[in-house]
């Protein structure tokens, strides 16, 4: 599903965010990207969503080389990926239902269909009762869940999330992670960037640890305190 091949990313200010990183995430996988801030987590997500382009190397999404996607093709490409942003990126002058509907409106889905799918997505994140509220009337956790509903409403094959539990209390964070896990159970590939090690220790999932734009270690942590298996140092 996602393949990074010797990817370098240098920003205009001269900072090297990624230094020749390579990894593979298969279809239907659930993976955490972890590491200290500045390790390159956000850069990877931005490259996947075509918000940024690699300086060198190749990024393949669903067997498609992103460097072959021209500016005109970016919208269609993004419609296939659900993105959850750390700062939610909700439109505050519109009700929750319209925020969630945005990817469908943009893709030209018929109105009746939109209503049905928006309600289904809000139901999944447990916010069906808030569809008429404005984002600012909601708590941070609820806003984050609106963002998730928006990311899954178009039924993407790939869901990426940047620090989705950043400002949440542990209980709420766990709830949101479980929601991602449920989505993964129905076949969605999920990639989550987070530095909340305590939280992800509770999940049996692939973990890619980054440091200074490289993969430091990769492995699978089994939940409920079992001894990590398959762990290997890259």
């Amino acid at each position: 599903m996602i393949r990074f091949d010797q990817v370098h990313k240098r920003y205009a200010n001269g900072r090297d965010a990624l230094a020749g990183i390579s990894f593979n995430i298969g279809s239907g996988e659930f993976a955490f990207l972890t590491g200290h801030s500045g390790a390159g987590k956000s850069s990877i997500l931005k490259l996947i969503a075509l918000i940024e382009r690699p300086t060198r190397g190749q990024v393949l999404i669903n067997n498609q080389n992103t460097s072959a996607v021209k500016a005109r093709g970016i919208p269609k490409f993004r419609q296939l990926i659900g993105v959850v942003f750390q700062d939610h990126k909700l439109l505050h002058d519109r009700p929750v239902s319209e925020n969630v509907a945005l990817p469908l409106i943009v893709a030209g889905v018929p109105r009746r269909e939109i209503e049905k799918r928006v309600r289904a997505a809000l139901d999944q994140v447990g916010l069906l009762s808030k569809e008429k509220s404005r984002p600012l009337e909601l708590s941070t956790g609820e806003q984050q869940r609106v963002g998730i509903a928006r990311a899954i409403v178009a039924k993407p094959m790939l869901l990426i999330a940047d620090e989705p539990t950043g400002n949440l209390d542990p209980e709420l964070a766990l709830e949101i992670m479980q929601l991602f896990k449920r989505l993964n159970d129905v076949g969605v590939t999920v990639v989550i960037a987070t530095h909340d090690i305590q939280l992800i220790d509770q999940f049996s999932a692939r973990r890619i640890v980054l440091a200074e734009g490289r993969v430091l270690s990769e492995g699978r942590v089994l939940s409920e305190g079992r001894v990590p298996g398959e762990g290997r140092v890259a």
Binding site: A49, R78, K89, L91, V106
Partner: protein
């Protein structure tokens, strides 16, 4: 209608109304923009109304023209009749009327009120005159000038006066005015494009975040641009309606005093306002200008918004 087309139509209708709702939510800023457009459009529109009226008022003058042929003092009435007969034979002449010097003096005496003064004159100072009317076919400016030259060459002819000369001057002047109208209209139209473009640009800067989010969830530039294009259309339509109202008021204010002025000159002139066709045209133009202004600004600035 297919379901896809229906959905497309519904989306456009929704965006159209949405953008109207958005600009109505800022009534003062919107009113200012529309007022600027209305004034810019009202100027050439009103000028056009005046020009149109002048042309209608002078249109029938074009047709009725004649040549006045003044004979020399020594040519007598018999010579005038002979020349008249000669001219009547020409294919480009419809009719010739002879006004003898005596008759001209008699007419002048009664109409001018200088009767007594004229008695003091020893000789009749007026020449024998022929009034020549060309045929319809020979009424073009070129043909009339040719006829004039040809008559001037005849013996005993002192001067030929083409009575249409001042009409031609008027027409030339109207022509210049029309061009001035096109120039000012073009410049003011350009200013409408710039005003709408600038308004849309500020609008886009204010809604940068929204456009960014739209693009993040996969909106094309065209999709993000659409509400701004509709805003431009609304601004244009509002400005066009405003211009029509301004001109209607100006015509109403001017029509009575102008009619009065004309009646003092013994004319039936009546100021004609905007016709339905002209209103439709100006609204079409203003909408097109609004759309163009927003298209230019939105295309440029939306492309620049990158998440």
């Amino acid at each position: 209608m297919t379901a896809g087309f229906e959905a497309w139509l519904a989306r456009h209708a929704q965006t159209l109304l949405g953008s109207l709702g958005r600009i109505v939510r800022h009534p003062i800023a919107t009113a200012m923009t529309i007022a600027v457009i209305a004034v810019a459009l009202a100027l050439p529109l009103f000028f056009n109304v005046l020009l149109q009226n002048t042309r209608t008022a002078t249109a029938n003058w074009n047709q009725a023209f004649e040549l006045s042929v003044y004979l020399t003092q020594k040519a007598g009435a018999d010579r005038a009749e002979a020349l008249a007969k000669q001219l009547r034979a020409r294919p480009d002449v419809a009719s010739v009327r002879v006004i003898t010097a005596d008759r001209a003096l008699a007419e002048f005496r009664t109409s001018s009120g200088f009767g007594k003064a004229l008695d003091a004159l020893e000789d009749n100072p007026l020449p024998n005159t022929l009034i020549v009317t060309p045929t319809i076919g020979a009424s073009t400016p070129e043909a009339t000038v040719a006829l004039k030259t040809s008559i001037e060459a005849a013996a005993d002819v002192d001067a030929v006066q083409l009575d249409t000369e001042w009409v031609q001057r008027l027409n030339a002047m109207l022509d210049v005015m029309r061009r001035v109208l096109w120039l000012t209209g073009g410049l003011l139209g350009l200013s409408v494009v710039l005003v709408v473009g600038n308004t849309i640009r500020l609008d886009i800067l204010n809604r940068r975040e929204e456009i960014e989010v739209m693009k993040l969830v996969g909106a094309t530039d065209g999709f993000a641009r659409r509400p701004f294009l509709y805003s431009g259309v609304w601004y244009g339509l509002g400005g066009g309606v405003g211009a029509v109202i301004v001109v209607a008021i100006a015509v109403a204010v001017l029509s009575r005093p102008l009619g009065h002025l004309a009646s003092l000159y013994g004319s039936q002139f009546h100021l004609t306002g905007l016709r339905f066709g002209a209103v439709v045209r100006i609204l079409g133009i203003s909408v097109a200008l609004g759309w163009l202004g927003s298209w230019i600004a939105a295309t440029r600035h939306i492309r620049a918004v990158e998440p």
